[in-house]
Symmetry: C2
Subunit: 457 residues, 2 copies
């Protein structure tokens, strides 16, 4: 059954009030799908009605998949007992995520319905800065001691594993909770029951600090193909782990943010259709405003050279084409370098390599564009359309501008993100939108320069 069929079937069962079949159907499918179905299903009351049909475990797993609004509404509909039941089954890092999105009254209710130990764990996650590794970790992991046998380890996993987000990577800690080794259930399964953990654990443990960036954590999980990454505090004590599913979410969020920034939008992680018009407007208008105002620099330039440009109106007609070409050239370079920076393929130290490379790409691109444009102007505009104003000299001004502006735009477009990163600013914010304004100004100055030089205007 695809999603539409599931939705139809659910609505049919609901209309028939077929409680038995509803229960069976909902509890059989994956919680991620249940959540999506219940979010599609019309009104609040139906959603609560259907949610109550879920088994304890499914209810919890479904709950974490809902967006903040739905979670808030459900919590309001819950009795304290229901809330406690759901909370007991949710992993601590997910409870912390939920709390971050809720208004104060709901937060109080949540904390009142969790046991003191959990409450403390939640608070310790919440105190880490946003976007830090600590803020996305979970304190629920399997820890072993180095003198345990494999059999002891399995006993421990069997006893404590049910509540852990992942049991497959096991961490070996000493008496003061320092991380001294790591092993996997695969390793344990392939070893003998009386092997000692110390002999099979990997001692060169790769970990991250609680205060490091969550993006770094995700990159490490992806680079090393880990299922979980251990998080240690400033005294190297193991305090939590970050699981691969959370890393994927972070990667997707960071990618969305980069794309938004490159398109001159203040990042938001609310899905498009759930963002209100005013909310979208607030994310977009400051940049549009800033870019509009900075673009008026171009009108100052054109006004300043008004007398000269009026002597050769034909030049004016090519301004949008020239600024577009410069903007596109620069945009290609800035997007490429921003992406390379965020994938760690390029670092600040590579700036001269990048400039040299873009200079060469800019040169061959500029030559190709210039030649094609010259031919187009001479054959299409002058001969076919009979536009006598386009003399060889005019075409030369236009094409030389294309050549030089392409090189300039590529160099600026590629170095600006690196300089931004060097200054501790966000490469993506400074990049695409501003590149086009900067390249507009430069293109116009080059254009007018060549016009004065060649056409003596």
């Amino acid at each position: 059954m695809n999603f539409e069929e599931m939705l139809e079937y659910l609505e049919k069962l609901h209309k028939e009030r077929n409680v038995r079949k509803l229960k069976a159907f909902l509890n059989e499918i994956n919680p991620a799908d249940i959540a999506q179905l219940l979010e599609e299903v019309g009104d609040e009351r139906t959603r609560v009605f259907l949610f109550r049909m879920l088994t304890k475990e499914n209810a919890a797993e479904t709950f974490v998949e809902f967006d903040g609004d739905t979670q808030e509404n459900l919590i309001r509909a819950f009795s304290d007992t229901e809330l406690k039941e759901v909370l007991d089954e949710i992993y601590i890092d997910d409870v912390a995520d939920i709390i971050e999105e809720m208004p104060a009254t709901i937060v109080k209710r949540i904390l009142r319905n969790t046991d003191p130990e959990t409450r403390e764990a939640i608070n310790s996650i919440l105190k880490y800065p946003e976007d830090s590794a600590g803020s996305i970790m979970t304190p629920e992991f399997v820890d072993l001691k180095k003198d345990m046998t494999v059999e002891d380890a399995f006993k421990r996993i069997r006893r404590t594993g049910v509540d852990k987000e992942t049991i497959y990577t096991c961490y070996v800690t000493d008496a003061s909770r320092h991380l001294i080794g790591v092993t996997t259930v695969k390793e344990l399964l392939l070893s003998d029951y009386d092997d000692i953990i110390e002999d099979l654990m990997e001692t060169n443990v790769i970990s991250i600090n609680t205060l490091d960036d969550r993006e770094t954590a995700s990159h490490m999980l992806s680079k090393y193909d880990f299922l979980a990454l251990p998080v240690v505090d400033t005294e190297s004590r193991l305090v939590g782990i970050i699981t691969v599913d959370d890393a994927i979410d972070v990667i997707q969020e960071e990618n969305t943010e980069d794309i938004q920034k490159m398109a001159a939008i203040t990042p938001t992680d609310t899905p498009y259709l759930k963002t209100s018009v005013i909310e979208s407007w607030k994310k977009r208008i400051p940049w549009l405003m800033l870019l509009m105002i900075s673009a008026t620099l171009t009108s100052q330039i054109l006004t300043t050279f008004e007398d000269r440009l009026l002597q050769a109106y034909v030049l004016t007609a090519f301004i949008p084409m020239l600024t577009d070409t410069g903007g596109n050239s620069g945009g290609q370079s800035s997007a490429t370098v921003i992406r390379a920076l965020s994938l760690n393929e390029v670092g600040i130290k590579d700036i001269f390599k990048v400039i040299w490379k873009e200079f060469r790409i800019g040169t061959v691109s500029g030559i190709s564009l210039g030649i094609v444009c010259f031919i187009k102007l001479m054959i299409f505009d002058r001969i076919i359309l009979g536009n006598g104003a386009i003399t060889v000299a005019v075409a030369l001004v236009i094409c030389l501008t294309i050549f030089v502006e392409t090189i300039c735009a590529k160099i600026i477009g590629s170095t600006l993100p690196i300089i931004a990163k060097r200054m501790g600013l966000d490469p993506a914010v400074l990049a695409n939108p501003f590149i086009s304004t900067i390249s507009d100004v430069i293109s116009l100055l080059i254009y007018i320069g060549f016009a004065i030089l060649i056409l003596n205007i």
Copy 2:
């Protein structure tokens, strides 16, 4: 030790020719780091020399982390025995990946040095279309039978698990290899030894078809928080699995591709610094050329209305600002919608919701921009700079253009990607670059229209 320190230490040991310490050091760190270190280390011969110090397992795990060029050079340096040793340890999906990048002579050598069974498995992966789920799956998974006990299952895992990419998700198949259930090692560990697999397996199995898009597979792994996704053929027989680490790679590649397309670059998965100048030029120039040629439409418009525009030169000076503002407005919308489409937050069916939403965002944005621009023109340009050419009527023409073009650009920018998707085209390709050309043309026509209407030019 961070990466720079590791590199320094490695170079020191190499200079001292301290083979014992080199071996110890290299085999202690993670293969992903070894690969990065060896790629940094200068010449070919040193790399081969250092690579030969790795244990069999580390050698294989390091080998798959290298880029294609390094892999090719190493294979050329290998004896057949060495090549066979490395290949034996590499997962089949990774061998298939390597083969796809190699020239024919190397492919022949690789296939000659794999056993017939592996060769067949590799060939079956290679026959799936690029970007399909089949092309990134591995045929090495743990399969169980429904009548096995948990003890039987563990025996089977212990016996066959060492060669499997993941053992944590186990698939239950019937006699004709149909996928009938799924369970996890966690579930097995938490069950009794004499429990029957059939009783604890999940029968509502989520799987993907070999021919489905690999991007869909990655989204499913991310949505359901799976460690592996089963891949079935057209007859519902289990043929392989896709593991979460490969899904992350696909997600990152697809994101890079989207960003490249949005910046008018033909996608490539070669890292920036490893792409040659000519290679980069080839990926960028077709789009620059196409956009330059299509932008000449703006010069046709400006030439057509030359006589009218010459009567009010002041209008010309604002053309770059107006086209930029339209382009930025449209770019925001297209980037937002393209991203929402690729995250499946928005579908083709939502087109009218999207238009209605962007119409409203465009209206409030257009009003805000128009008012600010009007004030700026009247106070800054007219009063402070004393530009008498900017009359109230001229300012009105400019600001009304901003208002209308913003709405148009937002609607076009947001619907074009959806229409592209509906037509089976790539939303990202059609989007950003073309939006700016289209919005340029529309902005100029609106501008000239208002000028004729209000200024009677």
